[in-house]
Subunit: 136 residues, 4 copies
C-alpha cells in the first residue's frame, strides 16, 4: 500500500466510494498538479519557443490549481458533501482534458518531451475523475 | 481602484468579460478563501462545541481550497479557456452555497459570530460566481 | 472592519499577537498572492517581451505560492506554533523581496505597469511580514 | 522513472542541484501535503477524541499548506532564486518537524494509526528538505 491508500485504510470514517478508485484519483490529482507546475516552468524555459507555448503555460497553471484543490477535497472523508465533490471532479476533468490536449499538440508538433509526460499525467487524471464520477 | 482592478487595468490582454464583474469575483474568491480558512480554525477552537462543528469545518476546508483555485484561474487573462473557467465557477458556486448554508445554521442556532461573517463571505462569492457565469 | 478583522474579532481564541498587525499581514499575503498570479499572467501575455520576463514570471509564481501558504497559516489562531509561523514569515519576506525587486526593474526599465502595481504589493507584504516578525 | 523524475529529465534547463535528491524532495513534499490533509480530516472524524486532537489538526493544516508551496517552488527549474528556495526549504523542515512530532505523540499515546502514517510522511519530508539544504 502506498501512503494515500494507507491514509484511507486508517481513516475512522469510510465513505461509500470504492477505496481503490478513490485512492487512484487522489494520487492522479497530486501527480497532475506536480506535472503541470513543472511543465509550465519547462515551457517557460524553452527560450526560442516560449512564445508558441503561451497557451500551454496558461492551461498548465490552471490545471495545477484545479487538480490541487480536487486532490485536497477528495482526501477528506469526514462529512463529505456529494454535490461539492461532484462539481469539483467535473471541473477537474474539464481542466485536465483542455491541458492534456494542448500538451499533446506540442509533444507531437514540436517534439516537446515534457509536454508528452504532462499530457499523460493529464489523461490519467481526467480518466480517474471520470471513473469516480461514474462510481459516485 | 483596488489592487485587483489595477492589475486587470494594466494587463496587456483584455478578455471579453466585464472587468468590474470579473474584479469583484476575484476579490470575493480570495476573501472567501480567507474567511473559510479562518472559520475552520475558529470552529476548531470552540472547545465544548467542536463536535457539533465537524461538518462546518469540513465544508470550510473544501470551500477555501475551491475558492483559492477559482481566484487564481480568474486572475489569468492570457489565452483563457472558457470551458475551464465555466466549470470551475460552477464548482465554486456549489461549494460556497454548501458552506454558506452550513455556516448560517450555526450563526443562527448557536450564535457563532465567526460563522455569520463567513456565511456572508460565502454568499457574496456564490453570487459573484453566478453573475460571472451569466455574463460569460 | 473588513472581513479579515471581523474573522479575528469573532475568533474564540486570541493569540498574543497585535490583532491589527496580524490582520494587515493576512490581507497583504492574500493581496500579494493575487497580484503575483495576475502579474505572471500579464508578463506571459506581453507578446514581444515575454522572453525578457522569464525570471519575473518565475519569481511571481513562487511568490504567489509562498504568500498563499503564509496567508493561510496566519489566518489560524488555534494552538499556533510560533516556530512554524516565524519560519514561514521569514520565507515570505524573502520571496516578496526577490519578486518585488525583479518587478520594480521591469516597471522602471520597460515601463511595465502591471509590474509596478505588483512590486508595490510585494513591498507592502514584505514590510507586513517583517513587522509581524519583530512584534512576535 | 516516476513522473517527477521524468519531468526533471525532460526539462530544458538543469539547475546545479542533484536531480535525484531534488526529485525525492518534490515527491516527499506532495506526499506530505496529501498525508497531512488526510490526517487533519481523519482526526476531525475521531468523534470522542477530536478535542484531544485540536493541536494535531492545526499543525496538519499548516504543514499541508507549507509542503504544497514548497513542492511547487521546487518543481520549477527556470531562473531559480537560491535564497527563495532555501528559505522555503527551511520553513518546510520546521513545519514537518512540528507536525511529525505531534502526530508521533498520538500514534504512541492514543494508537492513532493515521497519525503514525502521517508522522512517517512528515519525517521523510523533513529529511529530504534537510538533505537538499545541505546539498544546495
Amino acid at each position: 500500500m502506498n501512503h494515500v491508500q494507507q491514509m484511507l485504510a486508517t481513516h475512522p470514517r469510510q465513505s461509500g466510494t470504492d477505496p481503490s478508485a478513490l485512492a487512484e484519483c487522489i494520487q492522479e490529482c497530486f501527480a497532475c498538479a506536480q506535472a503541470c507546475t513543472s511543465c509550465a516552468d519547462a515551457c517557460l524555459g524553452e527560450q526560442a519557443h516560449v512564445e508558441h507555448l503561451v497557451r500551454c503555460i496558461r492551461l498548465n497553471l490552471d490545471c495545477a490549481d484545479v487538480c490541487d484543490a480536487t486532490g485536497r477535497v477528495l482526501s477528506r472523508q469526514t462529512e463529505a458533501d456529494p454535490g461539492v465533490i461532484r462539481a469539483q471532479l467535473q471541473s477537474c476533468a474539464v481542466a485536465c482534458k483542455a491541458c492534456g490536449d494542448e500538451c499533446a499538440r506540442h509533444a507531437e508538433g514540436m517534439g516537446m518531451e515534457h509536454c508528452r509526460v504532462c499530457a499523460e499525467a493529464c489523461r490519467r487524471c481526467e480518466e480517474a475523475c471520470t471513473r469516480l464520477l461514474r462510481a459516485a
